[in-house]
Amino acid sequence: MILINYLKSTILSKFVMAVTGIILVLFIIGHCIGNMQLFIGRESFNSYAYFLQERIGELLWIMRIGLILSLIFHVVTSIRLKFLNLGAKPKKYEVKNYVKAKLTSRTMIWTGIMIFAFVTYHILQFTTGTIYPGDYNRTDYYTTNAMSVKKLGSDECCTKSREATAKDAIINYRGNQYETAGNHPIISERHDAYGMVIHGFRRPIVAILYIIGMILLGFHLNHAIQSAFQTLGYNNPKYFNKIVVGSTVLSTLIVLCFISLPITIIFGLVGGGV
């Protein structure tokens, strides 16, 4: 049980909260930047999705396991600390006025639990395709001249390569986004992550759910990022104010980045041709 021995110490517990939290934040920043490729277009987004799914090999699972472990440790530690803290203050004040504690810092466990529920839903929808299999099971056909193929130097990226007919291409590329099949023979197919996201977010309920989920994440991170610095002992009068401001700026940027997808999609500004 050496793995959970750290729970006996509140400072070590907070250390684990901070380190796992930072790992999750770094992932979220990467995820956010990756998502922005949706604005470049289907070709870019799908080849990025393909790259993550098929090209990085074991690295994908190493990353997934690292993230899942971080999330598990983060959640388990936070729940254990919450119970400890409730026990340390069994009698609340009749009247309580906070001077410095903010709504964000006082609701960490609740925003956290809601983020956990959101992440579960998110994985079931976009990673495993359990929730809307129709959205998930879409195929993207593309030509040898597609940008990702050109960039990678050959079409070897496409393990699912097959001979497709020009008819497929016309069916799938109503928007005529790439060169026509006539000029460049269609040779490959891959998972249409772009179409999946567009169709997903066209459902108002899904779009709203994501917007709410991301705002909750923003609340959590607004307190969390600067808090992690304090927990790890980085608090110096010279720059701590900047860390607090930076925490707000970064969390706001992350929220804006993420919610820009459902907002632009639901208003038809992106993905109109799909």
């Binding site: 006996k8 110490s9 509140t10 400072i11 070590l12 517990s13 907070k14 250390f15 600390l81 400890l84 803290n85 026990g87 340390a88 203050k89 069994p90 009698k91 609340k92 004040y93 009749e94 009247v95 309580k96 006025n97 906070y98 001077v99 410095k100 504690a101 810092s105 006082r106 960490m108 307190h223 600067q226 808090s227 610095f229 304090q230 927990t231 790890l232 002992g233 980085y234 608090n235 110096n236 009068p237 701590f240």
Partner: protein, 251 residues
């Protein structure tokens, strides 16, 4: 001025306790908060009732004996001021004031507004001292201390151990108190030999006493009558993490 007071009354540790309403009609604004309670108590005694028990000693803001959570803020509305130094001119005629004891599992109520803060003494006994007799005050400059560290150590040593940090913390964490007591030594040469052992044993005692964990609300710093900064908590975290890894002694 006229005031309506709602005061926590509790006969003893076993009693459940409740809020009771009192009306005061001629409070002078030059009175301190505790003098206002003295007036109330005189009145209660004349009426043959049990006076309100509250802690106090120096009444000049240096001993840390006075406590009281006033309208939901330990030591009341004025920044960097103990309850004994709070004056009634900070309140308005007709105000309602809620007065409650410092709340924490580690600070059990003894009677009315008096709580048992001896958990802090036991934390101090666990390591808040230098383990050898250091004799008389040394000659100035015989032990070089940088101005910066001397100032910081003084900032930490300003802690009067009143427990407002615990009372204000939604988690009843004692991190600010312990951090101040650890840091006042960690910043000075005399504190170095026992530095690691000290932080480990004081933190360990803090947990045994049943104080909560820090969530970085920074509420402690906001109510501290001596304005001890949460920077000392960051410093203690650093010291603690490093000592857990490098100190051979099992604590």
């Amino acid at each position: 001025m006229k005031l309506t007071l709602y005061i926590w009354r509790q006969k003893n540790a076993a009693d459940k306790g409740h809020m009771e309403k009192y009306q005061l009609n001629d409070v002078m604004e030059d009175m301190s908060f505790l003098e206002m309670l003295d007036v109330l108590n005189e009145d209660l005694i004349l009426k043959g009732k049990e006076p309100v028990a509250f802690d106090h000693d120096c009444r000049e803001g240096i001993c840390g004996a006075c406590s009281l959570t006033i309208n939901g803020v330990p030591h009341g509305p004025e920044k960097a001021t103990t309850t004994c130094q709070l004056h009634m001119r900070k309140f308005k005629d007709g105000d309602s004031i809620y007065i409650e004891p410092f709340r924490a599992k580690a600070f059990p109520v003894i009677k009315d507004l008096v709580v048992d803060r001896s958990a802090f003494d036991r934390i101090m006994q666990a390591g808040g001292f230098i383990g050898v007799s250091t004799g008389n005050a040394p000659d100035a400059h015989s032990v070089p201390v940088s101005k910066k560290n001397a100032d910081l150590a003084m900032d930490a040593a300003a802690c009067i151990g009143c427990g407002a940090c615990v009372a204000a913390c939604p988690n009843a964490a004692a991190m600010l108190f312990v951090a101040a007591k650890v840091s006042q030594f960690a910043l000075l040469p005399q504190g170095q030999p026992e530095r690691k052992k000290r932080v480990l044993s004081m933190v360990s005692q803090m947990q045994k006493e049943g104080f909560g964990a820090c969530t970085n609300f920074y509420e402690c710093e906001a109510v501290c009558p001596k304005q001890v900064s949460v920077r000392f908590i960051a410093k203690m975290n650093r010291d603690y993490l490093c000592s857990r890894v490098t100190e051979a002694v099992e604590v």
